[in-house]
């Protein structure tokens, strides 16, 4: 059952993410212990759960960054076992670490990112502007930035890509009030543009209204799944 109605529309859509019995290891530790999950286009999925529940691991699997030990599935139509490079190319992931080169400036980092992602370099200033990264730090090496500025820069790198699937791991962490509002606005914009968003967060009061679906994760498995619009409970 990979097809369903997009919230707010009647178009039949392919599942953006479909995972069945996915087990993924972090070294010898089973980060995911058997995840079944279907996410359809346009959904905004909030993943919550205690520390060590497997939220980040789930996002990494969805990003094609982690080899899965057993189970199967697809992300954006690509197999999570055999087509991980294709998945990585098409998702936008904001991880715990910012995935930026410390010795390059903000602009250089984003230019490299844009070139690699086959995006016009002209998008770079737009994206930085969108994230409120002031132009005085555009030519400062990332190693001299504050944590919040790094975070904004890393988000700009995701925005530059215009991905169909956004994977945001604690996107509000380390940001000031303005930055948090910015993240909310980004998520809303992305979803209204038809993109799918998965975000892991502890800030439930903030993200509860943002999400169309709530996913409770614990012990490396999905233990609760419900949402205001689409009822996925089993």
């Amino acid at each position: 059952m990979n097809r369903g109605v997009v919230p707010g529309g009647s178009v039949l859509a392919m599942a953006i993410i479909s995972l069945t019995g996915v087990v993924a290891l972090l070294g010898r530790f089973p980060g995911l212990a058997g995840v079944d999950l279907t996410v359809e286009a346009g959904e905004v999925v909030l993943i919550h759960g205690p520390n060590g529940a497997g939220k980040s691991t789930l996002l990494r699997v969805c990003a094609g960054l982690l080899r899965i030990e057993s189970g199967h599935g697809q992300v954006l139509g690509h197999d999570v076992r055999s087509e991980r490079p294709a998945i990585r190319r098409s998702v936008g992931l904001l991880g715990h670490d910012t995935a930026l080169y410390e010795d390059l400036t903000v602009t250089e980092n984003l230019r490299f990112w844009a070139r690699a992602s086959r995006v016009e370099e002209a998008q770079v200033p737009t994206a930085l502007d969108r994230l409120g990264v002031p132009s005085r730090i555009h030519d400062v090496a990332v190693r001299h930035l504050s944590a919040g500025q790094r975070r904004r820069t890393a988000l700009a790198a995701v925005v530059v890509r215009r991905p169909r699937l956004w994977l945001l791991d604690e996107p509000h962490a380390g940001l000031d009030a303005g930055g948090r509002d910015l993240v909310d606005a980004l998520v809303k914009d992305a979803s209204s543009a038809g993109a799918t968003v998965m975000l892991a967060s502890h800030e439930l009061d903030r993200t509860v209204d943002l999400a169309t679906r709530h996913l409770a994760v614990a012990g490396g498995m999905v233990v609760g799944d419900h949402g205001p619009e689409v009822d996925h409970a089993r």
Binding site: G34, G224, A233
Partner: protein, 264 residues
């Protein structure tokens, strides 16, 4: 699959009694032992001294078989490495590791006996101009590197992949280096194909072949044991993983039942 090979020797399913021997391997071990005794008798007493080299020739009864077995072992490692990269087959991965360890031992023996033999015959323990010597040394160092990589990170599959690439690198590089230099510059002290030109005495030839057979049997015997050790480790890890998965799932179940109040 061949997964049952070791499993049936695990002592009636009792993991504390798991061992790597069986009636067949004990029999094989005895044959190898007897063969080694016979080889020593043949090589050091029965075979005649060489016209030119005298008693020094006796070392080739160890040197030549161990050199050949070095190549057999490292070829096995290369094949196992390729199969790991291609199919991610743990069976082949363990085979590659086992063969590399045994191969390094044979390679050391080859270098050791070769340099002792070189002293009376070439008048030097070591000759840097001899391509085969130098490439064998490089091969030895590379395979030591293989074992270093193996020991660097536990049982992570990434370790197997790294080691497999080193194994293939050695297997592809060394023959090409060896052949190309010999071919381009003809630089070797090693005699070419002395086995085939009919100069050797019958008993010498027999001892050589006998040594090769004994060496091969020893290789098989050691491989079986080393493989089974690896396979038992592999199984223990699989059991550990099952336990960890079980623990993780009960963690999920506990969280699920406490949170199920809000669900339909």
């Amino acid at each position: 699959m061949t997964t049952q090979v070791a499993a049936q020797d695990r002592g009636d399913g009792d993991p504390t009694r798991a061992h790597t021997g069986s009636r067949a391997t004990r029999g094989l071990g005895l044959v190898v032992l007897a063969g080694l005794v016979a080889l020593v008798l043949l090589a050091f007493f029965a075979a005649p001294p060489d016209d030119e080299q005298g008693d020094a020739v006796r070392l080739i009864f160890i040197h030549v078989p161990s050199a050949i077995l070095t190549y057999v072992a490292f070829f096995t490692t290369a094949a196992g490495s390729a199969m790991w990269l291609w199919k991610r087959s743990s069976w082949w991965d363990i085979t590659a590791h086992a063969a590399a360890e045994i191969g390094v031992m044979f390679c050391a023996l080859t270098l050791f006996t070769g340099s002792i033999w070189g002293r009376p015959t070439w008048n030097t323990y070591w000759d840097w101009g001899d391509v085969r010597l130098v490439t064998t040394l490089i091969l030895f160092l590379l395979m030591v590197g293989y074992l270093v990589v193996r020991s660097s990170g536990g049982d992570d599959p990434a370790v197997s992949t790294r080691a497999a690439i080193v194994g293939l690198l050695a297997a592809i590089n060394i023959p090409i280096v060896n052949r190309s230099v010999e071919w381009w510059f003809d630089r070797t002290l090693h005699q070419k194909a002395s086995l085939t030109d009919g100069k050797l005495e019958d008993l010498t030839l027999f001892t050589l072949v006998f040594g090769l057979v004994v060496g091969l049997l020893f290789f098989v015997w050691a491989m079986i044991h080393r493989f089974r050790v690896g396979w038992l480790e592999h199984q223990a890890r699989a059991e550990d993983l099952d336990e960890a998965l079980e623990a993780r799932r009960s963690e999920a179940a506990a969280a699920g039942s406490s949170a199920s109040g809000g669900e339909a």
